[in-house]
Amino acid sequence: MNRVISYMATYVFWYPFIMSLVWIAGSLVFSSKRATDKDLDIEGIDWPMISILIPCYNEESTIEETVYHMNNIAYEKKEIILVNDGSKDNTSEILHKIAKEYDNVKIIDCKENRGKASALKLATFAAKSEYLVCVDSDAILDSYAAHYLIAHFLHKGERLAAVTGNPRIRNRDTLLAKLQIVEYASIIGAIKRSQRVWGKIMTVSGVVVAFRKKALVEVGLWDHDMITEDISISWKLQEKFWDIRYEPRALCWMLVPETLIGIWKQRIRWAQGGQEVILRHWRVILDYKHRRIWPIYYEQWASILWDISWVVVTAYFFITAESVKQLIIWLTFSSFALVFMCLIQLLISLIIDSKYDKVMRYFIWGAWYPFIYWILNALIVIFAIPRAIKSRVKGGYATWTSPDRGNLKKS
């Protein structure tokens, strides 16, 4: 028993330590070789028409503002398709009002709630263009984000299925929001950059992603039975050898949860979505042609194993501790080394990301990360495991609930 715990404790230390170095290295290589600081020659390109797809569920408080900003982005040839997926609030009435106000807006008012994947499928059938920019209904695109996304398809993009953008956070006042700013800029951003260097990406960001319709049709569009349609479609596309790219200049401004319950529910969804995908797509490990996605696949399992190990090791030390000293897990060399590594990773990633958004000042809140987020994320993954297994066994529609849009002031 002691030997098993000892191995697990070693893993609990070395896995995040090594991965932190991997994310730092990946981010630096991406930034030095792939990311460019220059802007596009907008006038020099014949931009194709795009369809902006916005699925809505209980979005009465945000959708008008979203459409207003979406209509004003610099990309000229566009149509906006709004899909109401059986909302229980006044979203339907608001969409009908919006349709009268804007010439380039089409609305699909579906009274039945069948989930985001079904809403996106409907919008795809309604779209007139080959390039679909999918955006969440609380999100605002940077004026040139669509240009940055679409440019990838036009330049050596014959194998390209999707380009995912760089989500930015609009609500920045509470502790949880500030922590998420640090997380999106440094953890999620670093992972996306590194995975792009590796060649495969775990997931596009559902909040802002451009798709080639042909690729979506080839893989049968989104899965209706997976809780996170963005993770699922990413794997389906890459399984068929379509490429996915990450474009950090394509900024998309969104709202994030500001309550523990809100963030808990969101992260349970994410964790469950990731687990559902690796359970469904396990056959990639049997096919040598899919070897480029193996690092992503095994890293997912390694991450789950770490979460389980962390919970077991921590519980074991708490149960068997013989002194108060042994109970203070933050006062060990392992904790010191991991916190040190975490701060370095956050700092480097924030420096890289501050080219796109002034996030450096939020480093002060990054100190919370090893205290709250590691523990919270470990518990979330543990709670998501039975849900993912149940979901795989049971099947059915993955419908959505109203997200937490922060604790905002009325404007």
Partner: protein
């Protein structure tokens, strides 16, 4: 394809997207107090390693080394190991990136895909042609039931 900086005005516009939340002063007081405590811990961690790297041997850092049953050389060895691992990972990542660039730079392994047609979409067999035409041609479409058919994944 790249050109310089027409985006500066956009950065100002982006600032207008920021929303403000309702804050309660006593919550903020607690958050700031705890943040100070968390940073005292983090600064201790940083100083612990800086002290070892530069061989300062300050008593505050020594106190923790004693607590962890370590000496300064062991901490330095650990840092050297971390740097070596990082350099190894960075080199592999850099070479992998370079290898891909060389290998795929001039390869066009596919022609550009053709545009998706109506037939491509209908072949998915998840939507009737009547509903497709309605979705394509009308500006406001209302469905009591979602017309997308449930097809089991193969």
């Amino acid at each position: 394809m790249d050109k310089s900086r027409q985006r500066k005005p956009q950065k100002k516009l982006n600032v207008s997207f920021i929303k403000h939340s309702k804050l309660v002063w006593y919550n903020e007081l607690i958050v700031w107090t705890l943040t100070v405590l968390v940073w005292i811990y983090c600064l201790t961690v940083l100083y612990y390693f800086v002290d070892s790297i530069f061989n300062i041997n300050h008593e505050y850092a020594t106190l923790f080394r004693t607590f962890f049953n370590m000496n300064i050389n062991e901490v330095r060895d650990f840092i050297i190991l971390a740097v070596v691992i990082f350099l190894g990972i960075f080199s592999i990542t850099f070479m992998w990136s370079y290898y891909n660039k060389i290998r795929y730079r001039n390869k066009y392994r596919r022609t550009y895909p053709k545009m998706t047609t109506k037939e491509d979409l209908l072949e998915l067999n998840i939507l009737d042609e009547k509903d497709y035409e309605q979705l394509q041609n009308e500006k406001v479409i209302v469905f009591e039931k979602n017309p997308i058919k449930l097809v089991e994944r193969k």
